[in-house]
């Protein structure tokens, strides 16, 4: 019993250290974002702390507009991926149809090609379609990402088939089985896709900085790059910008956490 308790103490100590390693830099950023430029990187008493950096960001740059653009494109992309990719992943894992293997291989290939390579050909296509410098350019091509199809396929391989068979005996078609039986027990998958996709899209820089070139259509990451002058670095504003950028994503993660808990619940029921 004593041995067990010591083990527990060590586990918690380890976990606390772990949490510190991950959290200290994050808090350090937040702390620094409260300081005027000349105090950055030093420890000063709380009376110097202020939200001036944030005020300056909001008053000098269209932050709300950039938030809006980012949120709009991110939500659209996440919605697309949550709908399209489990659908394809399910078919690739469960349904037998000609071309299945070829399709899977092709999708895999597209994960292996560095994104930088296809950036400019995509740009030219978009220009022809009149999509350059609109939010379409950073939304439409990313509605179905191979990475999540792959993830879904692996997920569906892992869940037992009996449930679907039972449903089909009850007379549900393929679509009915998928939407009524399979999707409701795929909370973990959907939450995982949502979290990763949300994070990736929210923070992506290269794509929006290539496809969008007017300030009122910037997403937040790109807009924050313009906070620095041509030469001068405004670390204080940059840090405040990082906080503004990150906290919606952290919030989103906390929110989707719940679905993981639900995931456990359904898995328990199922077993």
């Amino acid at each position: 019993m004593a041995k067990k308790r010591i083990g527990k103490v060590f586990t918690y100590l380890f976990l606390i250290c772990l949490a510190l390693i991950f959290l200290v830099p994050v808090f350090y950023v937040f702390y620094n974002s409260l300081l005027p430029k000349r105090y950055i990187g030093t420890f000063v008493p709380p009376d110097v702390w202020s939200f001036d950096n944030y005020k300056e960001l909001f008053s000098e740059f269209p932050i709300m507009r950039w938030y809006g653009n980012t949120a709009l494109s991110t939500v659209a992309v996440v919605a697309g991926n949550i709908f399209f990719t489990p659908l394809a992943g399910y078919a690739l894992a469960r349904l037998r149809f000609p071309g299945r293997k070829a399709i899977f291989l092709c999708l895999m290939l597209s994960m292996m090609i560095p994104g930088q390579l296809v950036l400019l050909p995509q740009y030219i296509m978009m220009a022809k379609a009149g999509m350059v410098d609109t939010l379409w350019a950073i939304t439409l091509p990313y509605l179905s990402q191979s990475m999540f199809i792959f993830m879904s396929r692996q997920f569906f391989y892992g869940i037992p088939e009996e449930l679907e068979e039972a449903a089909r005996i009850d007379g549900l078609g393929r679509f009915g089985t998928y939407f009524r039986i399979v999707l409701p027990i795929s909370g973990v998958l959907l939450a995982t896709i949502a979290i990763f996709n949300f994070t990736g899209t929210w923070n992506s820089y290269l794509v929006p900085s290539t496809f969008i070139s007017s300030a009122d259509k910037y997403v937040l990451v790109v807009g924050l790059q313009t906070v620095n002058n041509q030469h001068f670095q405004q670390e204080n504003l940059t840090l405040a910008g990082v906080v503004l950028l990150s906290f919606p994503v952290i919030g989103f993660f906390m929110f989707t956490q719940k679905f993981f808990v639900q995931g456990i619940a359904t898995a328990g029921l199922k077993g």
Binding site: T210, S213, T226
Partner: protein, 435 residues
């Protein structure tokens, strides 16, 4: 095994598709080109007619990044009424976001009509045809301001007999000194350096009295070039890379760094030398008059003195670079003539030049020199340095050369075991980039 075979098949298919695609686009190139010609002719004719009835306003765009709009907007005041051209400013997030995608933008016809281009790494853009020569607009009188540009600026912007842009301002290199630190180290005005040896003496004082490096050295081609020129060297478009002067200049930097007299912005995690001088991590740095505006905005209480870049012993005539950005027309715009008109209008506008003076820049037109001296007394001596200053003279490889130079110097400075010498560096560069 089957899967691997399938993959190979897919690859083969891909390759054959690609070949077809390429063939198709190749054969279509000439036809699309003729289309372009036709459409631009059509535009030419519509232009002449629009000039005739002067009712229509043509909108063109100027691309840039940072605070470029503050610099250029005053030049466009009243342009719409005067010549029927309206300039819109298109702000790119960063300079990289602009340059990296410029070829694709030109191909997709989404590029701005004109930009401000500096005379540093400009040759690849000119040689690759991204910048349109404007010689014919000077010949036909659309651009009349070329004559008022000083001769050394003309030399910079005339490449292979064609003019590629109209310079609007010029900045000789300066040596900036944080006087707060200077005084703290108990140095006086009389100690202000004239030679690099003087700089080293000051560095010793900083090291002994304040325990800090005195000199900030930014590992960027601009700063390397100042050192080389002040040693009587320079690149001369790649003809004179491997010279004893250049070797000695780079060796000076390496030695001073090894002795702990130098700090680089890179090690402090910043990219701009002005940051270092402002934050007081070093007292001296090579720089330009853009320091003025930056300091006024970000560190108004720091006292800075701007003097001529020091020179090597016995090289009193050596002078630094002339940073001379110009307004250049980009390829692929559909309003070339209007763009030329707009550039000319801006250059002829007094409010443009006066705004530049307020920002601490010397306008390209010598008529404004006296006004500049009057309004910016601390920088007045720079005006006299203009005629002596040089272009950067980078080899035609442009950025590739600059990156190679930086990489080699980074190896010499940031690898504590490195034995690389200045002489080795210039020799290797000459082999790769010499003309």
């Amino acid at each position: 095994m089957k899967k691997v075979l399938a993959l190979l098949l897919v690859l083969l298919m891909a390759a054959s598709f690609a070949a077809c695609g390429q063939g198709g686009s190749n054969s279509s190139t000439p036809s699309s080109k003729t289309e372009d010609n036709e459409s631009s002719e059509a535009q030419d004719s519509s232009q002449t007619s629009s000039e005739g009835n002067s009712g229509e306003v043509v909108t063109i765009s100027m691309g840039g990044w940072g605070e470029f709009q503050d610099e250029h907007e005053p030049g466009t005041a009243g342009m719409e009424e005067a010549i029927g051209v309206k300039v819109e400013f298109q702000k790119y997030p960063t300079d990289a976001a602009f340059w990296d995608n410029l070829p694709a933008q030109i191909a997709a016809k989404t590029a701005p009509d004109f930009i401000s281009l500096t005379n540093e790494l400009y040759l690849p853009y000119i040689n690759d045809g991204l910048i349109v020569p404007i010689t014919n607009y000077i010949d036909d009188g659309t651009i009349s301001c070329w004559d008022m540009v000083g001769q050394n600026l003309k030399d910079i912007w005339e490449v292979n007999g064609e003019v590629y842009g109209i310079p609007y301002r010029q900045t000789p290199a300066v040596f900036a000194i944080n006087m707060d630190l200077w005084n703290e180290a108990e140095l006086t005005e009389a100690d202000l350096p004239e030679t690099w040896d003087d700089v080293l003496d000051a560095c010793k004082v900083f090291k002994d009295k304040l325990g800090m490096p005195g000199l900030c050295f930014n590992t960027q081609e601009y700063h390397f070039t100042q050192y080389c020129l002040s040693y009587g060297g320079g690149w001369d478009l790649g003809k004179t890379i491997d010279t004893p002067e250049n070797a000695a200049a780079l060796q000076f930097v390496i030695d001073a760094y090894r002795q702990g007299y130098v700090v680089t912005p890179k090690e402090l995690g910043v990219s701009y030398d002005g940051n270092v001088v402002m934050s007081g991590d070093a007292a001296m740095s090579t720089g330009g008059t853009w320091y003025m505006g930056d300091f006024r905005k970000n560190a108004p209480d720091v006292q800075v003195k701007y003097i001529a870049v020091p020179h090597a012993e016995g090289k009193e005539d050596a002078c630094g670079t002339l940073h001379a950005p110009c307004l250049s027309v980009l390829k692929g715009g559909s309003h070339e003539k209007e763009t030329a008109m707009a550039i000319n209008y801006m250059m002829m506008s007094d409010s443009y030049a006066e705004n530049l003076i307020d920002l601490g820049y010397i306008p390209a037109d010598p008529d404004f020199f006296d006004e500049f001296k009057e309004k910016q007394p601390e920088l007045a001596s720079l005006v006299d340095a203009v005629p002596k200053s040089n272009g950067f003279g980078y080899p035609p490889a442009g950025k590739k050369f600059a990156d190679a130079l930086i990489s080699k110097m980074e190896e010499a400075l940031f690898n504590s075991d490195s034995t690389v010498t200045g002489a080795q560096i210039v020799k290797e560069l000459q082999e790769e980039f010499g003309e």
